[in-house]
Structure formats: structure tokens, C-alpha cells
Symmetry: C2
């Protein structure tokens, strides 16, 4: 069942020793360019460098001691894997992460750095799921789904709970959409605790949520093609139900618009963000009149970039 | 005369509307690698992206209205030029910046973006000084020296005043040494307001302060060769006098050690810093036993990097 307001608050309480309360940053020069006031919730400064720590730790902390004793596993292109690995380490649990063989090196190394084992597989959703199922059947480990899971969604919502505490009267919040685990948590928290409207942001090259939202049913993403590697995932049904109820609209943008927005944040704010989190700013700059003079929250999802492969 | 404790406090009061109080950040994973506790004073988040805003605004604000009416000028490889340009803009003063023709593009563009004029010259100290003298003689503008000036040193000291307020009982503070304007301000503030020892950090390819400190007289830098472009400048005599009195030691490091430390800060802290500010961490990692278990302050001097020319 979709988590209630009380469950979101409980999740925040549950994970508080596993996460940082990340800062909200502003940039006068970006506000000038955008024509509105932007509040960046900086989950790139989160433990392991991404908001995924929130959902992963909340899901892991709901397992029984017996379950944890058998270990946990997940499949992830990177950040969720790191999040499970670190959450497992912090709670003395063994973690095994299934990763596509084309995941950025920095992410594979980080997972191993947190003491987890890595199993590589082909970079398809099918290969990931098969490999994970085989591992679960063999070991009895608990499978934590990266996004299609209410505990993960509730954990992710806590970034927005904090954002709302750290700001006043936001008009809008924009979050990127990959599997739907962040945007749905964002939408729940915004609906329960504020009057802010929530918008989704997607690359044109991975626009399944946009198309699914417009059609009213899930259209899976086939061959996504975008620099925003965190957003290549197909939308899950649990997130989609919440999106349909609580997200106002979803916008898409082009690759060069993502790179421009990413560079703007790097140069003006001096912070390192992944391409995925530049998508909301790209959307905002493309739809300036819509957000004119508003107070807009943007979730900066993570900062785990392969510095050897920058787009500029 | 070397600024007194009271003059440093006055400078801080004078410039407070021209600067941000920048945050002090920590990184558990870098502390683990270094074997001590490091407090990074993040002047990369300063207005215009560098600590130079402090010294420039303090020097400019000491001019009379008549002097400001004739304009200000300086020569700078970049950050001080931007700092004078922005300070001038904020106080309705005309600024003209003399820049070496090999300065990073991002710095030239930023100076122009703040409404200042740019005059390019050959990349030698002699060419800079001649061009600046000619301009002053022609226009009557006030020349603000980037580092060899007590008002600039007092302004720069305010970063350390804040660092000492934001932390408790630092054992050491490490700052990079270029012209000596930052390290001397750092050393004055640390001497007046704390028990912390101050150390200078230099690249081997621009080690004039190291050699001057050891010999007891200024040995100018000829043909500096380092990625740390902010540290290629030769040491000024005003800064040197303060260094001799109040700096405990100066250490040098190699280029690959600078690049390693820079990458470590980018990857672990998700913040963008110039190569110059990686030098103190490189020094610390090279001399771990010296700083073992200490509380160490490091001045992160700026974040104005040409993203098209990264060393990784």
C-alpha cells in the first residue's frame, strides 16, 4: 500500500543515523539566468554521494535479524548498489551487488570499497533480474529492489521532507525520473506536507515516464540513450501509480540541454553533480515562463561522476 | 606596517557586505586516508569563486570617493582581477584589469562579466607591471596590488578569522603560497587569535617561497612550471616579512601529488577546487606523521577551473 504521511515520518526517524541532513544551496547567478528562485537539495553530499542511501537504508532496516543474517542483494547501475553496500556495512550485514558490466568504474570500485561483493552481468534489465534471482535462490539473501518498493520510496521521500523544512513555501519541486523511486517519494512528501506541485524531468533519450504518463499506462524503455546514466531505468508500477496521482506534469529535454545545465551548476556553484541531476535544471531553463518568479526546489540526486569521462 | 589584531577585525567588519561567510567542510574518508582531522575552509564558495574577494574588497574600500571616481586597476592571472572587478561593480567604481594573454579563458570572461575592461599583456611580471604603470599614469586610476599590500593581506586574513570561529583548537593550518598574500594573512590571524601553527604549501615547480624561507632572503621565481596556476607568482616582500616571523615551515610537493590530492577532493567531497588549493592536502598526505591525529585547517582558495582543461 502507498506509504502514509506517518510512514514517511517514521522512515525519516528510522534512517537518521544512516544519512546526512544535506544542505540546500542557492546560486544568485543561476537564479538570474532562470528568472526564479531555485533551492538545490544537495544529495550529492549524501553518504556514498547520492539520495539512494535514504531508500536503501530504510528498506534494509525493515528486515529482521534472521533475514539480515542471510545477507542482502540488489541489482543496480551503481548508486543504489553503493547505498545497499554502505547500509549493509553500517548494520553488519553481508551485501552482494549485481552490476551491469558497463557501469562506471568509479561506481564498481566504490561498492567494493564498502566491503560488498560484486557480480557482473549483461547490461539489460532481464540479465540483471535473472542473475539476482539465481543468487537469491542459492543463498537465501533478501533482494532489495532499487526503486519498485514502498520502503525505498518512503526512504527517498525524506530528502523532500528535509527540503521542505529547510525552505519556506516552495511553489514547485522538480525531480528527475528514472525508475520512479525518487519522484514518487518526492510527490508523496510534497502532497502530505506542502502545497508545492511536483514535476518530473526526463531526457528525451529515456522518456518512458513521460510517454507512460501521457498514455496512462506503463510503456517500458527500450534502448535508452542518454548521458544521464541514472535515468536509463524503466519506470516501475509502484512509482507509476503515485506519479499518476500526485505528479502535475513530466517534461523532457535534449542531451545538449542536460550538458549545458550540468556545466552551469559545476561552474557557478562549484559542486560536482551527476548528469542525471542536471535534467531538472535543464527542464526549468527550457520552460522559464512556467516557473517565472516561483520558488522552485530541485533535488540534486548525486555526485558520483567518472571524472575520466566528462562531457566537457 | 604589519596589520595589528584590531586592524584584521576592522577589515572583517568593513568587507562583510562584500563577502560570503563560507562553510567549513569535512570528509570522513579523506580523514581516514590522512590520519588526522581536516577542516576545509571553502573559499571556492566565496563570491566570484575565490578568497581574493576578501583582500580586493578591503583594499578598494579604503580608497576615498575621489580616488574611486578615477577608477581602479590591477594585474592578475585571474582571480584577483575578478575580485577587483566584482568589488568595483558592487561599489560603482570603474575597473580595468591587466591580464597575461595565457590566463584561463574562464577567468578573462568572468572579469568582463563583472563589467570590467581587460587589457592583455605578455605573461611576465615585467610586462604586467609596465602595462599597469602606463595605465595608471594615463588615467589616474588607483593600482591595487594582488598580494604585496597590507590591506589585501588584512582582507585575506578574514578567511582564517572565520575558520577559527567555525572550529575549535586547530593544531595546524596549511595554506598555499603564491605571492604570499594569503599565507601572510593566515599567519597573522592564527598568531593573534589561536595557538595553531601555520605551514606553507608550494609546488616544486614554483618553490620560491620555500627557497626564500630557507635562505632568509627573497629568491624570485623564474619560469615557474606547475599546474597550480594561482601559485606561479613570485613572493612579495611584505608577505615574506610576515612569513619569516609567523610561519613555522614551508613544504613542497610534486605535480602528480597535486593532481592526486585534487582528484581526491573532487571525488570524495563533490566540490570543485582549483589545482592551487590541492597543494596543502598534497603536502599533508606527504607528511602524514607530522600531522598525525592533529586538527588541521586547510584553506581551499578557489574553484575557478577551466573545465575544458582538467588534468584527469
Amino acid at each position: 500500500m502507498i506509504p502514509s504521511d506517518k510512514e514517511l515520518i517514521k522512515a525519516h526517524e528510522r534512517i537518521k543515523h544512516f544519512i546526512h541532513k544535506t544542505p540546500v544551496l542557492k546560486s544568485e547567478s543561476i537564479n538570474k539566468i532562470a528568472g526564479c528562485r531555485i533551492y538545490f537539495k544537495c544529495e550529492n553530499f549524501q553518504k556514498m554521494g547520492a539520495f539512494k542511501m535514504r531508500g536503501a537504508s530504510n528498506a534494509l532496516l525493515q528486515l529482521s535479524e534472521t533475514e539480515r543474517h542471510l545477507g542482502v542483494t540488489t541489482h543496480s547501475s551503481g548508486n543504489f548498489g553503493q547505498a545497499v553496500a554502505l547500509s549493509a556495512k553500517l548494520s553488519q550485514t553481508k551485501a552482494t551487488i549485481i552490476m551491469p558490466n558497463n557501469a562506471p568504474n568509479v561506481k564498481k570500485e566504490a561498492v567494493k570499497g564498502y566491503g560488498a561483493s560484486v557480480i557482473e552481468c549483461e547490461p539489460t534489465l532481464e540479465a540483471r533480474e535473472t542473475t539476482a534471482n539465481e543468487f537469491v535462490n542459492k543463498t537465501g539473501a533478501s533482494f532489495l529492489h532499487p526503486y519498485n518498493c514502498y520502503d525505498v520510496i518512503a526512504g527517498n521521500s525524506t530528502a523532500t521532507i528535509e527540503l521542505l523544512e529547510q525552505t519556506k513555501n516552495l511553489d514547485s519541486i522538480i525531480a528527475p525520473v528514472g525508475g520512479g523511486g525518487l519522484i514518487s517519494g518526492t510527490a508523496l512528501a510534497a502532497t502530505y506536507f506542502s502545497k508545492a506541485k511536483v514535476y518530473g524531468a526526463e531526457p528525451e533519450g529515456a522518456d518512458d515516464a513521460f510517454r507512460s504518463f501521457k498514455k496512462g499506462e506503463i510503456i517500458p524503455m527500450i534502448n535508452p540513450n542518454t548521458i544521464a546514466d541514472g535515468l536509463r531505468t524503466s519506470l516501475g508500477d509502484k512509482g507509476f501509480e503515485i506519479i499518476q496521482k500526485h505528479v502535475t506534469d513530466i517534461f523532457t529535454c535534449k542531451e545538449d540541454e542536460i550538458i549545458y545545465a550540468m556545466r552551469l551548476i559545476w561552474e557557478r556553484m562549484k559542486i560536482i553533480i551527476e548528469p542525471s541531476c542536471a535534467v531538472p535544471l535543464a527542464i526549468l531553463l527550457k520552460n522559464k515562463s512556467k516557473f517565472k518568479k516561483q520558488k522552485v526546489g530541485i533535488i540534486i540526486t548525486g555526485g558520483n561522476v567518472d571524472l575520466a569521462k566528462l562531457p566537457f
